[in-house]
Symmetry: D2
Subunit: 95 residues, 4 copies
C-alpha cells in the first residue's frame, strides 16, 4: 500500500478555511477512501500511485468546486517497495 | 498557540527508520511538549515561534545523536493571529 | 497553467542520492516537461492537474526503476484560477 | 553548511500574496543571508541549525509585520553530517 499525507489550503478566501477542507473530506468519505484527519493534514492509504493521484486530484477539485480561487495543495508520499506498509503498520512502528 | 507539523527523515540508514523517529518522539515526551503522532508526521502545539523552533531543533538533534548522518526535516507551521488555534480547535473545525 | 514543486528522496540507498534525482530529471528532459531545478527541489509548469500528476507519477517511477526501495516524494501545487500563472510570472511578481 | 527551503504563505489576504513574500525576501537581503528564490520557495544556506531557525523566525515575523493575519510557513531542512553541502555542491551533483 501507499501511505500519503495531503493538505489543501485555499488562499484568498479569508483566514477561516475549514469549509473548504470539509469539501475535500466529504469527497474522501463518499468515495470509500481510507483516511485519517489530523490538525494539519489528512493521511490517506491507497493501493497504488494511480489511485493516490486520482484521489488527490478529486479532493483538490472538490475544494475548487466549493468556490476557492487559488489552492496550495501539499502531498507527501511514502512508497516502500521492500516491505508492505499501511496506516496501522506505520503507527505501530513508532510506538 | 502555534500548531505545527514536523517530520524528520534519516537518509542513508536503511529503509526502516522508526528507531530514529522514536528518538525524536522520546525527546518530545520527556520534555512535556504537547504533540500527536500520525502515520506521516508529528503535530505539535506550542506557545510561540521561539518555543517551536527550539523544540524542532532539539528533536532534530536527538535523531542526529541516534546516529543518523543525513536528515531531511520538514516543518509546516500554522500561525494564526486573528483567532486562537489549538490542536483541539483545528480538529473540531473540520468535523 | 499549474506551477508545482516536486522532490523525490530515496530512503535507504546511502546518504548520496543524486544518481536517483538524476533519473527523475532525465525523465522530465526526455519528455519535454517545462521545469527548473534548484538545490532542494524541481519546479514544474504544466497545463493542468492531469498532466501534473502524470508527470510526477512517471518521475517517481523513474527513481524506483533506478533501484530505490523506498521513496518519499513531496509535491506542492500552486493552482490559481483567477489569474494565469507561470514560472516566469511567479518569479517576476517577487522581484 | 545547512541548505533549507522556506515558503511563507499568507492565508486570508487575497489571492495575490507577492507583497508579503517580498517582505520576507527584504529581510533576507538586508541581513546578508545567502539565498536563492525560485517560483515556489526560497532556498537558504546557513552555517548551522540555530542560524537557520533564527532566519526563518525573522522572515516569518517580517510577513506578520507586513499585515498578514494567518501564515502557513513551510520549511524543509537538508542537514548532512558525513559531507559538506552547499547550494553550489547540491546543484552540481544533479547536473
Amino acid at each position: 500500500m501507499i501511505v500519503a499525507e495531503m493538505s489543501i489550503t485555499p488562499i484568498g478566501e479569508g483566514t477561516s478555511v475549514s469549509k473548504y477542507v470539509k469539501a475535500a473530506i466529504k469527497y474522501l468519505k463518499e468515495n470509500g477512501v481510507k483516511f485519517q484527519t489530523n490538525p494539519m493534514s489528512t493521511v490517506i492509504e491507497v493501493e497504488d500511485l494511480e489511485t493516490l493521484f486520482n484521489v488527490v486530484k478529486k479532493a483538490h477539485e472538490a475544494v475548487l468546486e466549493a468556490g476557492a480561487k487559488r489552492l496550495i495543495t501539499d502531498l507527501k508520499i511514502d512508497d516502500r517497495r521492500d516491505k508492505e506498509i499501511t496506516i496501522e503498520s506505520k503507527l505501530k512502528a513508532i510506538r
